[in-house]
Amino acid sequence: MKSESVLEKVLVSGQLAVTSECGPPRGAVPEIIKEKAELLKDYADAVNVTDNQTAMVRMSSFAACVFLKQMGLNPILQMVTRDRNRLAMQSDILGAYAHGIDTMLCLSGDHPHFGDHPEAINVHDLDSIQLIQMVKTMRDEGKFQGGADILNPPKMFIGAAANPFADPFELRVARLSKKINAGVDFIQTQCIYNIDKFEKWMKGVTDRGLHKKVYILAGITPMKSAGMARYMKNKVPGMDVPDEIIKRIADVPQKKQADEGIKICIETIQRLKEVEGVSGFHIMAIEWEQKVPEIIEQAGLLPRPVV
């Protein structure tokens, strides 16, 4: 074992892992994060806590992770390289680990252009791959990026994202391989709606044997309505929503569209369970966390293993 991470234990045991996501509030309101955490508590092995997602200011991932930890959940500290340089990132990693947070997700982050502070500079002292390298060096060599020794080095289980749907497609397996070489332990993918394309990517992954070097959790996000599906397709960078999905949701009456969205999710999970190299699911119900338990339950992913 590389860490004490529960997520690592579940994955090593060979069972399908389940992670979910929780966005911190736009204010100093611990109740909001606690309510979301309560919903996910017994359903996910670990819960991502986003870091100024979509470049909008929110309670820090680190602070929100501490609330989750205190409630007995296993938070995954998300960290984007957009807002902090290598000093700030390393000090947060030390702080998080000192609070018992042992799992992270390394990202470059959305551009400030998309958020509520478009005038801010984006730091990008490191990119996501260099962040992975840094966290691995901290863990395995007990050294800061600058080379000095760390007292009680943080043993993080290291995650990153992969988007099989972004361009150029032919590069996306090679990019995963780069993240593996940098030292990533697990991957959470972009939300999957175009299953054929995902399977094509996974074929490229398994052909190179990369699924034996990294755990891949398939990203799942339920659609609330045809409007949301259209928005995701047209407005969210790197999202691939096939027209059939939009049509399927649009074809049922408005009131039933949410149910149809959940149904699609569950079918997707069932199909992906059969795909070689899929080690689990990352279920992100953005501001719709109350639906996560039923998705996990109906997809046959309960009970969660005790490790």
Binding site: R82, S108, H111, I129, A161, A166, R175, K178, G238
Partner: protein
Amino acid sequence: MITAERKPMEELTEYVKNHDRILLVGCNECVTVCAAGGRKEVALLASALQMDAMQKGKTLDITEITLERQCDPEYIEELTPHIDQVDAVMSMACGCGVQEIARRFKNTPVFPAVNTKFMGASERQGVWAERCQGCGSCLLGLTGGICPIARCAKRLLNGPCGGSSNGKCEINPDLDCAWQLIWDRLKALGMEKQYEEIIPAKNWVSGRGGGPRKIIREDLAE
């Protein structure tokens, strides 16, 4: 070259509102090429400023001069005979030129007439685009001759991010994704393997990270 764009008229008239005699100084280098501050632009701005002054019922005396290079003290000296006849200087050069004038003439205010933009190249007539951020340790040899620091919106050294779509950057559909360009070029050169080499964390000391920079060539320095 260094590119620039002229500032809006209101900002320029505000600068000179309390001055009667100004020296308007162009530069014959980069800003001439990008049509922001050469001889022609000096003449145009001089008449625009005079027109504005006239409308406001005041007189503005403008001496026009365009130097070979404003970033070179040797040429700045050519301003010496004029400087006592004016009460302010307006420079149409890049920020380097403005600062050279300020350094040489301690008692005369100098105002910038352009916004200095970036180091770039001309893509076609009338279009310039950023190409280099002067990081001080060039890695174009690793990236197929396309700079991710200057041309990727997130300056990812190991891109592309998950937002690259149809060759365009996620922040603007009119902007090429630098990493698509890099990949296409590596492919064309048969250097796909190069892509899988991780470019490690950059040492920014050679760039702005190390504070203001200076080059000292012992063989040339006096």
